[in-house]
Amino acid sequence: MTQGLTREQLGITDALVHTYGEIVFRLSNNVQHRIGDPIRTLDLDAVEAQRPALGMSDAQIAARVGLTEQQVTYIRNLAEVERMSTNNFQRLLALGGSKRFRVERFIPHEERFMYSETALRLRAALEFKPEAARRFVESGEWGTDTFRAWLDHWATSTPERLAVSGGNISLTYGALQLAVRRLASGLHASGIEPGEVVSVQLPNGLEYVLSYLGITYYGAVMSTLYMPHREAEMANIMRHARSRALICLAHQADFSPAQTALALRHSGQLPDLEHIVVVGEPLEGAYAFDTLTQTEPQTLPTPVAADPMLLLYTSGTTAGPKGVPHNAHTLLSNTRLGVPEHAVTSDDRFLCAAPYGHLFGQYSLHLAWCAGAETSLLPLFTPSAFTDAIVSERPSVVFAAPAQLSACLATDALTGRDLSSVRMIVTAGSAVPAELVEAIDALLPNGTLCQLWGMTETQAGSYTRHDEPAAVAARSAGRPSPGTEARIVGDDGTALDPGEEGELQVRGSLLFPGYLDNDEANAAAFTEGGWFRTGDLASIDLHGNITITGRLKDLINRGGIKYNPLDVETLIDQHPAIAQCAIVPLPDDVLGERACCFAILNPDASVTLEALCEYLLGHGIAKIKLPERLERVDELPLTPTRKVIKGQLAARFGH
């Protein structure tokens, strides 16, 4: 182009380029201005007069500016490189051409939506094994399910069908979709972008339902805080999740989540938290939930099944919270595949006593929304409120934790009440005593009890089917859900035979891909073959039914002999002096561990360790499994799903 001459040979300097770049570019053909039609009309004098405007050759520019022709060529080419951006053809690819194109509609690429660093971090955590992903897609387990697709479908096909009810709430699918779009539009307008996390701490009310659907409707990610969570948990979880917003109550009985969040933000502990949305009385510095739900619906981004949708934190009974990311593939495929297994239809009405902040409670919503069924809300569980709701709302499917059902039995809340509407009660959350299953099942004239096993990492891993007898649910959590593989593994990592007890491991299309930013936990949680170590002790019978027998970490290791204290606990719970107990390992210099029994005694009752041991020996318990210490307590620490947090008890001994 310049005959191989260098800048130095041409005398090109940055100063020369800087000085003449603009005028050389202007005089060149890069910018053309014509007056009249001088060439066609052969007005050659006009052509000459207009030459600088029409565009000049490099030689002509050189003569005009006072440079050499080669200098002009060099400078002009540099100016073109500097001025001309690339990828402009994307304009047509984005909008279409011809009269489809409107320049005012075109948004330059650099101004378009970009996932935030926080969103990309979460997206990066959703890495599955490619071979497994291929199988899940090819088998149809992973599909195109999203809440938005489901909600839009039901709002279009059956807009008048009831979606949410309870108390004075009565919302059809059409009305629910509109309310969700309003809230989603409000959140989006406030700057919460797709992929960003919104924490929610709400009871099982309409606001929770709207928040869950509203956040996920346009691709933001919901992360739940459990209702008992206080300042420390809020700070830890929201900081780890990098939550951009929190939707919470103005006040709980003893606590103001909104004010706590404001204080945490003010103190710099939650640097990512931008908005606090408050349900209840207004609070300075916080958005009012009701204001957001009045936003005019806008066109919103559409999420897809591979996008993250839910970031949960494990109940953390033995360790700090671990972030569990899910997308619609894992959660909603498991739901879609579960709908026929539970025989759920759009005629069903769901009632859930378990908290919606937990995946067990959320599963009830997922099933209802997948099938286009109705959800009757129960904001606060008490045995009487629960029973009253069953009688008045007449649900066909009920979700409740074992402890909630136990409480109902203990208070006789269900006895003599009309439970005829219920065709299925689903329970999960811990090893479910057979007596509980049998007692509940006996109260259901037209229904049965379904025992489900699941974790935050899996949703519904196994369950008894709707058409199976209660005896199956009394002794097991049923067979694996569709798309789920399960096995029992011994201490040496080999798979055990049917009936043998060991660790339950699962894998499949329901399984989360790994903990968020926690390599150590992930290394411990997964085997080479992609099996997830659940930490649950279980056995699988010849029919594939899984019986949960406890937690691996709850095993007592006494002098190298490990045993599961579940059968001992079950017997002690039946002792007339004891209301509830938990056996945890006690550190011992000689044997490594000894069993310590924490017990809540019944009013005015008393019992000694010796008497308790006599009682156990009388029921055939081996000496080695006898508790060696008895600690009387007023209450046991419980998870939101009413599981005893043995880790907190063990911590009292430095475990």
């Binding site: 073109e80 990828n87 009269k99």
Partner: protein, 303 residues
């Protein structure tokens, strides 16, 4: 073979025109060499390429099919080899002239002038065609339009054979009456309104004639020409910790495709101004369907 003095310039011209049309040209004209020599800048005149040139023959072939004009731009963004038809006819014409008349002729290269970089052509085919009377400058960045054939692709042949020149078009078909109407309503013609990079502007007088045309050719070129893309990509790769990731980024990979396959998307304009131009797409003989219909209604000269 006849001596040059025995060649009838008018007959020769007619035989050349017939040859060109037989080979697919829609319009053929001979430019006034003196005018071209005066208007073209030094270094880009016909005599700079062929010192003994006596005639500049310009020919145009049809632009896109009606189908191509109407499909979505997602596909149109990659089209572009129609101009090859014009070059083929011109190349054959240069052989035809030498065979028939024994006079040197060259097919005028449509290429860029390597001495001046990527955007300076050796010759202005547009100037040749305009002076030869087979196109007039439009408000769409001076793209030539023909009142009957609309938008064409042009090619040129230089020869030492002296041929009688044609006059430029008496009237400029641009702007079309519908464009004038739109301009008076909204201040813009379709080509101005729908240009993806808004590189066109201009004015129309009370008689419906062009008074000013402004064309930001740099903006137009950066819409579709991507000469800067490869060096920018390579520079990014050189600075990156993972050069392969940059070089094989899906968008960047497109440039490799265009480089290797030679798709017109890398080298041509986007033609969106022409897709909305009523002359380009609606001239009486502007596309094969219209031309076929016209041919069916023409009386058969043999009868």
């Amino acid at each position: 073979m006849r001596k040059r003095s025995q060649i009838d310039p008018e007959e020769a011209k007619q035989s050349i025109i017939e040859y060109c049309k037989r080979k697919g040209a829609l319009a053929v004209g001979v430019a006034d060499l003196a005018v071209v020599e005066r208007v073209a800048p030094p270094g880009h005149r016909p005599s700079d390429l062929m010192p003994r040139v006596k005639s500049v023959i310009s020919l145009g072939v049809g632009g896109q099919t009606r189908g191509a004009w109407s499909v979505p731009a997602k596909a149109m963004g990659y089209f572009g080899s129609t101009e090859g038809r014009a070059y083929t006819v011109a190349y054959g014409t240069s052989f035809f002239i030498e065979n028939r008349f024994g006079v040197p002729a060259i097919y005028c290269p449509p290429d860029m002038d390597n001495e001046f970089g990527t955007r300076v052509p050796l010759q202005s085919l547009k100037l040749h065609a305009e002076v030869a009377g087979i196109g007039a400058r439009s408000l769409a960045g001076d793209i030539l339009l023909h009142p009957e054939f609309g938008y064409m692709y042009f090619a040129s042949v230089f020869t030492e054979l002296e041929l009688p020149p044609d006059a430029p078009l008496a009237d400029n078909p641009c702007p079309a009456p519908s464009c004038v109407k739109m301009y008076r309503q909204v201040g813009r013609t379709p080509c101005m309104k729908f240009c993806p990079v808004q590189c066109l502007s201009g004015t129309i007088d009370e008689n419906g004639n062009q008074t000013e045309m402004h064309y930001d050719m740099a903006a137009c070129a950066e819409m579709s020409e991507q000469y800067e893309a490869l060096p920018i990509m390579l520079a990014e790769a050189a600075r990156s910790d993972d050069p392969t990731k940059v070089l094989m980024d899906p968008d960047n990979k497109l440039y490799w495709y265009k480089m290797s396959v030679g798709s017109g998307g890398l080298l041509a304009q986007c033609f969106e101004c022409m897709r909305v131009c009523p002359i380009a797409t609606g001239a009486p003989l502007g596309d094969p369907i219209l031309r076929a219909a016209a041919a069916r209604t023409e009386p058969d000269p043999s009868q």
